[in-house]
Subunit: 415 residues, 2 copies
């Protein structure tokens, strides 16, 4: 079942806001067997909204829209949809009650703009939005469905999960879509593709392959559209198995989860704890680890040692080594890892020290030079990397690589 997404808002087109709604919807709907065939972002104008809707409805039966439903004058989606569906705006008591409940305690009086949110087109099904003041609207015409949702991600997600997907599944038959993603590290895309060229020939026609490269990592995705789940699962399983003799050393996981989640799940399962000692990553490893609910079971804490004196005083790095080798060096990063493990009292630790850039590089240690160490019952292991010139990318790769180093070490020791 094909569908399209339309996101509305000038802020998307001038780049003041990144459209994360579409990707999230794509993920959720795809899992449920719906194919998103196009995503369109348009300006807050009557013409742009109507034209994009005309075009989408000429191609598919389901259109999901987000944005432009706020109480202010620049938001015109509701009025535009009312016109589009030959409908007029009428007062809806349920929506009004919801607005009142949500604003209780936050504002003195419900004002005209808030009251205006309770006006809805008379030719749509209004769907309850308990997490926001804008209504969710479900239109039907000539057997096709158009749903308009608020652009605020939390409100859109609540509507999609609790209302839209259940209603769509009740109405439409869907094919099964099975994805399997293998994470592969430290191999350039073209090299990997060459090594896999014979393997690619063995992929059955109903399964498609995609390479999704990002810095240091390639996600290899197999997708089957099928009515026979068990055959597809089996075929995919065999394909993945046959990857190991070819590139097994570079395979990191068979799940499309970020490394901080995989590492966290492993630590939780083994009942182990972890600490961080972060210089160039500045707290990013701590942030990623704690972005996962329940991480307090394995993450005890960390020391962000940006300044050398902090490395010395809080992590016990030897002052002479700092002077002799510099902060971005093997002795220092190893002492940082051992220090964090000891000071924070954990089973494992990850430490980073590098030159994220854009300044601070030298001929000997150019921007992108990063030392990473992990410590644990296996002792301390460290490795030097040369990432590149871009600060954000260096921070991300340093964090990911530190966690990959520990994850692989633990995977090997548990084998």
């Amino acid at each position: 079942m094909n569908l399209e997404i339309i996101t509305i808002g000038n802020e998307l087109l001038i780049g003041q806001v990144v459209d994360t709604n579409s990707a999230w919807m794509g993920q959720q709907l795809n899992k449920e067997g719906f194919d998103i065939v196009r995503i369109t972002s348009v300006q807050d104008t009557v013409d742009a909204i109507k034209a994009s809707l005309d075009e989408a409805l000429s191609r598919v039966d389901i259109v999901l829209m987000t944005g432009g439903l706020g109480p202010t004058k620049d938001d015109i989606t509701k009025q535009t949809l009312a016109d589009y569906f030959d409908s007029k705006l009428v007062f809806n008591q349920d929506v009004y009650d919801n607005v009142c409940t949500l604003l209780k305690g936050r504002v003195k009086n419900i004002n005209e703009l808030n009251r205006g949110q309770a006006l809805v087109p008379d030719k749509c099904t209004v769907i309850n939005n308990p997490v926001g003041t804008a209504p969710v609207m479900w239109f039907e015409k000539d057997g096709k469905v158009v749903v308009s949702m608020p652009g605020v991600p939390g409100e859109m997600k609540h509507a999609v999960n609790n209302e839209i997907i259940p209603r769509l599944k009740e109405r439409y038959e869907t094919q099964h879509i099975i994805h399997k993603t293998v994470l592969i590290f430290n191999i350039p895309e073209a090299v990997l593709a060459e090594q896999l060229s014979s393997w690619e020939e063995t992929i059955p026609g109903y399964i498609s392959l995609a390479y999704l490269p990002s810095p240091g990592k390639i996600r290899l995705r197999l997708t089957a559209k099928t009515l026979d789940d068990s055959k597809a699962h089996k075929d995919i399983e065999n394909l993945v198995k046959s990857l190991y003799p070819i590139v097994g050393d570079n395979i990191f996981a068979e799940e499309d989860k970020p490394v901080h989640q995989l590492l966290g799940e492993m630590l939780k399962k083994e009942g182990k704890t972890i600490a961080t000692a972060e210089s160039c990553t500045g707290g990013y490893i701590g942030h990623l680890l704690t972005s996962i609910p329940g991480s307090s079971v394995y993450f005890r804490g960390g020391i962000i040692a940006y300044e050398n004196e902090i490395k010395e005083r809080l992590l016990g790095v030897c002052k002479n080594d700092l002077l002799k080798y510099g902060a971005v060096s093997q002795p220092v990063v190893e002492q940082m890892a051992l220090g964090a493990k000891k000071v924070l009292g954990t089973d494992y630790s990850i430490a980073t020290s590098g030159i994220a850039g854009p300044d601070g590089g030298s001929e000997e240690k150019p921007v992108g030079t990063v030392w990473i160490a992990i410590a644990g019952d296996f002792g301390v292991i460290s490795q030097k990397y040369q990432f590149g010139k871009m600060r954000e990318r260096n921070i991300h790769r340093s964090a990911d690589t530190g966690m990959v180093m520990l994850f692989q070490q633990l995977t090997n020791s548990l084998r």
Copy 2:
């Protein structure tokens, strides 16, 4: 001058990758006077790519495309564009040399797939891509321009900044677009809009207003399209000035920059230093502060004290207070802030302790309860917040709010 963006890749439509390229391009091009009127994301199929190109070219004169230029079989953009422009693929020595330079030391031999990247349509201008192996291609037909760039953000950004914008500016006359964004905190959108209703009436017709709400914050954006810069700047300046008597207490800044950047710039200017003591934010404040180049001038480091024992031992929080009031309490967060300032030897500090969720809440302290403290020459100031149920949002709002608290305190004390 209107243009459209087309981003290509199944990964965008199934949500495995968020399209951040479009927003970035929108920002850069808009600054240069180009209006992005539509963004379209399509699948890696010949039909989808050609159809989206037909449609875009029926509306505008410039189309920028990203994605689908990798060396693997699932990437078909180059061949599709060659067909579309009645062109054939020919070997290009410059592109080949660039591929060799980039892969030197990373691979043993240049393989067939890499060699294939040097095949380019004969009816396009090939633009050098010194940061990646895929070529950038500039097509012209019937006076219209289509540019195809790699989807890897670093490569696309390099091409847009160094090649595409200069070439477009040379070719097209552009209107001036002036944006001014005012950041407003802690006021619901509808309340703000009501308070500003008379003010809105005073906005000249050639200036448009938009409300961009996000949790806890509203960005108020004024946009002028003009040929008379000085008049527009003056009109906008007066409009912003006249905001202060109405909502001055809630205005946080007149620049569309994230708070960590504004805070960092202020600390740098004043020659002051900062440290963090993070519990519920888990390193996110440290990460945000250090995401800015040159932050080592003011950021010395932080302690991520996820576990209570770490709060006690490393930050000097009193054990009795932890037992008596709990970790999420005023005495504890104030001691964390004072401890971080002392232990890390800085002028200022920010501390957070809260229940990010989804678990860990109680009737007295539900999920979303967060205590935040700032410390400095003004002593210690703390505040309790009730953010909501969503973990990610709670972490982001806690980090932002802590930095806003310090920024406002410093702004006031410097007045």
